[in-house]
Amino acid sequence: MTTHTTIDPSAKTPWLFYGVLFGILGTLSIIAWGPIGVSGTYPRLVGEVLTLVVPDYAAANPYLQKMGHLFAKTETYLVIGLLLGGFFGARLNKEKAPACEMIHPSEKTTGRRYRDAFIGGFLIVFGARIAGGCTSGHIISGITQLSVSGFIFAAGVFATGILTAKTLKRRHVAAGA
């Protein structure tokens, strides 16, 4: 049984209010310990697992050594906070658990949606690790600090992001489906 959900295109979100708050929050973060970031937590998690399974390999891997230990990083606690924040954001609004959203015309089954989510998840973390940061670390924190890398990363993300999203819609229309 597949649940199709289309979001109401006219629905307004409080982006103006929370955009201002998020700007203040990012400043508080730079005061408290440093700029926010997320994607480095993924290889640190992998590092903890590899340390349990293949300790010699993990200890000798230069990337895992460079990234440091999972629970020694403030960023890890921020990521745990994201999980709780998402939970409270939805529950305090008395929202039911969201149905699986089909985001491209080709996603006709939940399986296709999961396939896209997995491929997308793989590429965002792999790409973020090449660049050394993601939407949080490079774009939000990077551009807030006026770092040149943040602008370059953002240009790359939106170039292929827009192209990919538009192509996945158009290609399907062109195929007559």
């Binding site: 955009g19 700007g23 290889p43 089909m102 793989f122 660049a131 939000i140 993300v157 170039a159």
Partner: protein, 179 residues
Amino acid sequence: MTAFYGLLIGVAMGFFIQRVRASSPAMIVRNLRLENLSVIKFMALTMAVGMVLVYALNLVIPSALHFDVKPTYVLGVLLGGLVFGVGFGIGGYCPGTSVVGIGEGRKDAIVAMLGGVVGALVFTLVYTTLIAPLVKVADLGKITLADVTHLSPFVLAVIVSAVFLVAIKLLPTEVGAKR
């Protein structure tokens, strides 16, 4: 103690992301198709407010700030961004919003996070041979626009912030009718 601050800031950030529906992959894809610009405006506003605040504060009490500018290794940062964008367009999640989505109860967010963990594993395995040489190409170091232009960072923050705010004001949030 910073762990506790990290947790608190993470909870607030997750809450904000949930409320503006940035953790909805359908919303992200509508933004990338340029049909709705609310999440892009949310991000631009966050940066516009943040850059003026941090560089204003930097004029008064610079010791209070823990700046951490990432190195600009041009080829790697651009290539990483291009790969990230493809994944963003296909899946509709970024590394942070997938975690928020899991908190909300989205099952595809769990799948996206698993994809991310596998991506990080593969990256770790190929880092020494493929990535380390690549990221050293055209490494300009930890530079900001202030280093490039030799202008005051605060003045630059005001200028860039003003550009973002004008764009937010001029561009529509909902672009035309949904086809």
